[in-house]
Symmetry: C2
Subunit: 226 residues, 2 copies
Amino acid sequence: MVKPVWSFSLSAKLDLFAAFADIARALGNAHRLDLLEHLAQGEKSVEALAGKAGLTVANASQHLQALRRVGLVVGERRGKQVVYRITEDDVLDLVAALRRVGERHTNAVKVVVGDYFQARDSLDAVGFAALEQMVTDGLATILDVRPADEFADGHIPGALSIPLTELKVRLDEVPTGLEVVAYCRGPWCVLAFEAVALLREQGRLAKRLEGGLPEWRRAGLPVATP
Amino acid sequence: MVKPVWSFSLSAKLDLFAAFADIARALGNAHRLDLLEHLAQGEKSVEALAGKAGLTVANASQHLQALRRVGLVVGERRGKQVVYRITEDDVLDLVAALRRVGERHTNAVKVVVGDYFQARDSLDAVGFAALEQMVTDGLATILDVRPADEFADGHIPGALSIPLTELKVRLDEVPTGLEVVAYCRGPWCVLAFEAVALLREQGRLAKRLEGGLPEWRRAGLPVATP
DNA sequence: CCATCAATCAAGAGAGTTCTTGAATGAACG
DNA sequence: CGTTCATTCAAGAACTCTCTTGATTGATGG
């Protein structure tokens, strides 16, 4: 009974790999990665996610179901709404691993980064430990440039909340003399890039944080929710 | 000039996410995950990979190009052959992260594991540190059940090579009195599951190693290549 | 219990993926 | 320099994915 072992093994292996492949395919769409980034800020309703991701509600619902089908997110009925959240932290680790491979390997990322970011800011991001040091030394202001509702759901303690859309007209609220460290939803969140570019145009000393709030939380650092 | 910032940001973000999504989609096929597992054992030609994965050469070539297009593998012409290898270790980390999410989340994995493995062995796998302790204490034999060519390309020092297909007729080569720890290509490689099942049917004390050779190597542990 | 609102379902057009088959490269070697 | 062998390319049939539209479900609140 040697043959059965082989045929059995092959199909079992492919069944397993097919299950893993289903998960990978669920990640294989830009809108779904976007939805995951928004969910990484905190749980949200379908309608809220659709708005933030720029999708119709029906379309967002279908994408969320694709993510739910493979266990990346869970949805819970809460009154009239269905609130989705990321199932567990290892999902964030998976997306982070995907991002790391993408940063190094893909030409597309290099092109995008080159075209859009390199001219503006790009390289010098501040690490979490460095930021904490700068803050305790009184050298830096932390600036959260996400929309106000996301700030309200959780932010880095002591951070100043000025959504990017309002930054230009609220520049006077940013303390002068200190370096500004801007952060946003994640390592590639464009809001932080934009904020740094805008602040530098105004002659301020500004850098972006190398990760966003989900990475900060995942690193076990304190999150404030006032 | 506030509006342009937004439209710019949105498209830049989606471009980036589309690049990451391309990588995820390249992982989103059972055969390609299989090819990656074989490549994790060591570099291989298209024909060798096609044979091991049970694909036609043309089909294997197309899958490998899909992996190469997103930078997961690189191909190098070497005489008549093109030899592929995994680009860098972070690709292994990505696949490992995918597997971890799959192990916990997906029903399909639970079903497959339940159907195929749980009855046979399943739970008690030996960790790397535990194995090293058992070997220094003289309590265990390490058994490599992969095909001979993969053993030749690198294996755990001191391991005995008996491919699964030959295990039944070469049982007498396995030392008695010691516990047998079988390993294979990776955490879900069915060869090791099968080997443990077969050994236990023969009344031997057998467990599987919790990872395969790529995980062993990735952990910085020594690999022998005689 | 009927109106309302959030979310999901269903169906279909258009685009992309997968595998097969047979032809085309391109290096090696007599 | 023509043959051989490994690999890649090209085209097409079958299937899957994505987004839109309009209908349906399910909870809430007058």
